[in-house]
Amino acid sequence: MTSFVPRIVAFCCDKSAYVAADRAGRLGSSLPASLEIIRVPCAGRVDVIHVLQAIEQGADGVLVFACHEDNCHSLTGNRVVQVRIDRVHRLMEEIGLERERLELRHVASTNGAKFAQIVERKFQELETLGPSPVR
C-alpha cells in the first residue's frame, strides 16, 4: 500500500487549464510526477470513450479541466463535457468503480495555484482510495 503512487490523467483545455498547469510550477507549486497532461483544444473535445480508455489503460484517476461556466471559448464546451462526465459517472457506478476517480473541475488560465491544489487533493484522495480495480 505504501508504494502505491496513483496515476492521474488530466485532460486540460488549451485555453485555461493547460496555461494554468504551465503556471503552477512557476508559482512554486509542485505537480506529482505521475500526472499525465493531455492537451485538448476545448474540454468539449473530451468524449466518454476517452475517459473510459484512460481508466482502462491504467489510470487511477481522471481529471477533466474545463473553463468556468460562461467562460468557455466555444460557449458550450464546458457544459457539453459536463453531460458526458455525468454519463461516465453512471457507467462507473454500474461497473463498480468509485465515482471519485473521475472529476470535472473548472479553472481559469490565471489559476495556477488552484490547478496544483486540485491535482494535489485528487492525488491524496486516490492514495486513500487505492489502486483502480481495473488497472
Partner: protein
C-alpha cells in the same frame, strides 16, 4: 488501431537558455536519440532568441525528417514561431509537437531522479504521438467588401454610418419606415448630445443620403445562411417579394423595450412612467393651479421596484428631479434602494440635486401606495432614519408619482438573434455574457451584436459598442481574402447517419447538412451524379477546431484534423 510506425522524426532539444541543461544531460540525450523513428537530434541553447527553427532547415534536408519534436518549454511559447515555419521552412506547422519539459517537469517536480524519469516518459510519449501527425493545409476564402447591419434604431444607424464612412458598402436592413421616426431612444441616454433632436435629424439625413449606404426600410429578415465572407441574407421587402443580399459580415444592432409597471397602467393618471416626464412637463404646467386641475406641486420618483441592477433610470430620474425642483419649483422626493451614480457625471448631478433641495429616501421594503384626497400617499420606511434608532414610517403625499419602466428584451430582437445563430441568455437578451467573446463578437464568425438587445445599457455605451463592432467588421472585410488553417473538424460523409447532433451542438454554427452526390455509397454506376445523398458538412471558415462535435457524433464520422481520436488513444495507451 492504425499503425503509428511511419514517419521520420527529428528532435530539437531546446535548453531554454541553460535552464534545462541539468535535466537534459548526456544520458537523456542518448535516450531521446535512441527512440524509435527518431532520425536526427539537434541542440539549441535558446531556440526563441536564436532565430527559431529556420536554421535547422539544411540539416533536416539531409535527414529527410517529416515531423519534429521539440524538447523544451511550453508549446505556448513556440506557437508564434511555428506559424513562421510555414513561410520559411519545409515543415508543416502541424507536424511539430512539443514535449513541455520545462513547465511540466523542471518547474513542477522537485525530486531530480523523478524528474529525469518523468522527462524521459514525456519525451517518449511525445515521440510516439508524433507518428500520428498529419500535415494540414491552409485555405483562403474570398471576402466581399460588404457588411449588412440589421436594426431599427440609432445604434444601427451609427454602425451603418461608421462602415459607410470607412468606404465599406453597407446595407441597413430595418423594420421601421421611414427610418428615424421613433425617437424614444433619445430617452436612453444619460447625458446625451447637446441638441438631441438636431443630432438625431442630422444622423437620419446622413443615413438617407450616404452614397455607400443602401437603406432597406420596412423589411424583415426571412432567412440567414452561408458562412463568413459569403452570408446570404434573405429579406422580405414591403411588396412581399424576397430578396437575397450577399454580405461578408452582419451586425445586429437592436434596442431593448420597456413596459410600464402595473400601477402606471391600472392606477390612475397620477402615476407617470419615467419616459413620459418630459411630456408631462409640457402638457401639465406644474404650480399653475388656476390653469389646470391636474397641476402638481409635489412629485415622487419611485425607483428600483424594477430594474434594480441597471444604472440608467437613476441618472434620468436625478436629471428630471433637478429640473422639477429648480425650474418648476416642485417638492421632489426620490425613493430608491440605491442611488446609482456609476455613470460618468451622475455623482455630480446627484450632489446638485441635493443642493437644490431634492429629497432622497432609501428604502429596503418597497413603499406602499394609497390614494388620499386625490393625491398618492406613499408610506415608506426610511433606511437612514431607522439608522438613528427610531423606526418610523414616512408618509409622503404626492400629486404625481413617477415610476420607471421595466426593461424587456424585444421579441423582434429575439427572433433576429435566433435567425443569426446568436444564443439568448435567460432573460431573452441576445448573447451569453461570456468574456471570451468580448463583448460584441458572436460565436459565429462574422456576426456581431451590439446595443440594447445585448442588455439594457445607456445609449452612450451602446454607441461605443457600435463603433467597436464597426472596427471589428472592418478588420474582417478590409482584406480581400481570409486565410485560415484547415485545423478543423471533418465529417466522413460515408459514416454520417444524419442524426443532426453535430449541427445542433456546434456553438459556432459551423455545421450544415449538405449533399454529397459524388460519394453516394448506395448509388450504382451511372446513377451517382443524379442521386443525392445527404451528410453533415463542416464549414471550415466557421469552424474553430475545438472538437465539440467530434465527441457528440454517435457514428465516429467526425474527427478533428489537428488532434485525431487516434492521437488521443495513442497518448492514453502508455
Amino acid at each position: 488501431m492504425k499503425s503509428t510506425n511511419h514517419g521520420r522524426i527529428g528532435v530539437v532539444v531546446d535548453h531554454c537558455g541553460g535552464a534545462l541543461s541539468s535535466l537534459l544531460d548526456e544520458d537523456m540525450i542518448q535516450y531521446v536519440a535512441g527512440l524509435p523513428q527518431v532520425v536526427s537530434c539537434h541542440h539549441d541553447e535558446d531556440l526563441l532568441s536564436s532565430g527559431g527553427l529556420e536554421k535547422f532547415n539544411d540539416r533536416w534536408k539531409e535527414t529527410r525528417i517529416d515531423r519534429l519534436v521539440i524538447v523544451g518549454a511550453s508549446p505556448k511559447v513556440y506557437e508564434a514561431s511555428f506559424r513562421r515555419v510555414r513561410e520559411t521552412g519545409r515543415l508543416n506547422p502541424y507536424m511539430i509537437l512539443v514535449a513541455n519539459v520545462r513547465e511540466q517537469v523542471l518547474w513542477a517536480i522537485c525530486d531530480t531522479e523523478q524528474a529525469k524519469q518523468k522527462a524521459k516518459a514525456l519525451v517518449a510519449e511525445t515521440v510516439r504521438r508524433a507518428g500520428c501527425l498529419q500535415p494540414i493545409g491552409r485555405e483562403k476564402t474570398d471576402v466581399s467588401r460588404h457588411v449588412a447591419v440589421i436594426g431599427d434604431g440609432v445604434v444601427a444607424m451609427k454602425a451603418a454610418l461608421g462602415l459607410a464612412d470607412a468606404k465599406i458598402p453597407v446595407t441597413l436592413v430595418t423594420d421601421s419606415h421611414p427610418i428615424g421616426e421613433d425617437m424614444t431612444e433619445l430617452g436612453h441616454f444619460h447625458q446625451g448630445p447637446a441638441d438631441p433632436r438636431g443630432w438625431w435629424g442630422e444622423m437620419v439625413e446622413r443615413v438617407k443620403s450616404h452614397p455607400e449606404l443602401e437603406l432597406k426600410t420596412s423589411t424583415d429578415l426571412r432567412d440567414f445562411e452561408g458562412s463568413f465572407g459569403d452570408f446570404q441574407l434573405t429579406i422580405e421587402t414591403p411588396g412581399g417579394t424576397l430578396e437575397t443580399i450577399r454580405t461578408s459580415a452582419v451586425i445586429l444592432a437592436m434596442g431593448y423595450e420597456s413596459a410600464p409597471q402595473r400601477e402606471a397602467i391600472f392606477g390612475s393618471d397620477r402615476f407617470v412612467p419615467l419616459s413620459q416626464v418630459a411630456t408631462m412637463l409640457e402638457t401639465d404646467r406644474p404650480g399653475q393651479v388656476d390653469r389646470k386641475p391636474a397641476a402638481f406641486r409635489t412629485v415622487g420618483f419611485v425607483l428600483d421596484l424594477v430594474n434594480e441592477a441597471f444604472p440608467i433610470d437613476s441618472a434620468n430620474a436625478i436629471r428630471h428631479a433637478i429640473s422639477l425642483r429648480r425650474d418648476h419649483d416642485c417638492s421632489v422626493y426620490v425613493l430608491c434602494r440605491d442611488v446609482k451614480v456609476s455613470l460618468q457625471g451622475v455623482e455630480a448631478q446627484y450632489r446638485r440635486a441635493r443642493e437644490v433641495g431634492v429629497v432622497f429616501i432609501k428604502y429596503d421594503d418597497p413603499p406602499r401606495f394609497s390614494f388620499v384626497n386625490g393625491q398618492i400617499n406613499m408610506d415608506v420606511k426610511d433606511v437612514s432614519s431607522r439608522m438613528r434608532g427610531d423606526e418610523y414610517t414616512l408618509s409622503i403625499c404626492a400629486d404625481r408619482v413617477v415610476l420607471n419602466e421595466r426593461f424587456l428584451s424585444s421579441k423582434r430582437s429575439q427572433t433576429l438573434a435566433k435567425a443569426l445563430g446568436v444564443p439568448l441568455d435567460r432573460e431573452g437578451y441576445a448573447m451569453v455574457d461570456n468574456p471570451q467573446f468580448g463583448p460584441v463578437k458572436a460565436s459565429r464568425r462574422g456576426v456581431f451584436v451590439v446595443g440594447g438587445c445585448r442588455y439594457p445599457q445607456p445609449m452612450e455605451e451602446a454607441l461605443t459598442e457600435a463603433e467597436a463592432a464597426v472596427l471589428e467588421a472592418k478588420q474582417l472585410v478590409s482584406r480581400k481574402e481570409f486565410g485560415y488553417d484547415l485545423a478543423v473538424a471533418e465529417v466522413d460523409p460515408a459514416k454520417c447517419a444524419l442524426c443532426l447532433t453535430c449541427a445542433r451542438v456546434c456553438p459556432h454554427s459551423a455545421i450544415t447538412i449538405d449533399r454529397y452526390a459524388e460519394k453516394n455509397i448506395y448509388a450504382t454506376d451511372g446513377y451517382g451524379r443524379e442521386m443525392t445523398w445527404d451528410a453533415a458538412r463542416v464549414l471550415p471558415v466557421q469552424c474553430y477546431g475545438r472538437g465539440i462535435c467530434v465527441g457528440s457524433c454517435p457514428t465516429k464520422a467526425i474527427d478533428l484534423k489537428h488532434q485525431t481520436d487516434h492521437e488521443i488513444s495513442v497518448h492514453l495507451t502508455a
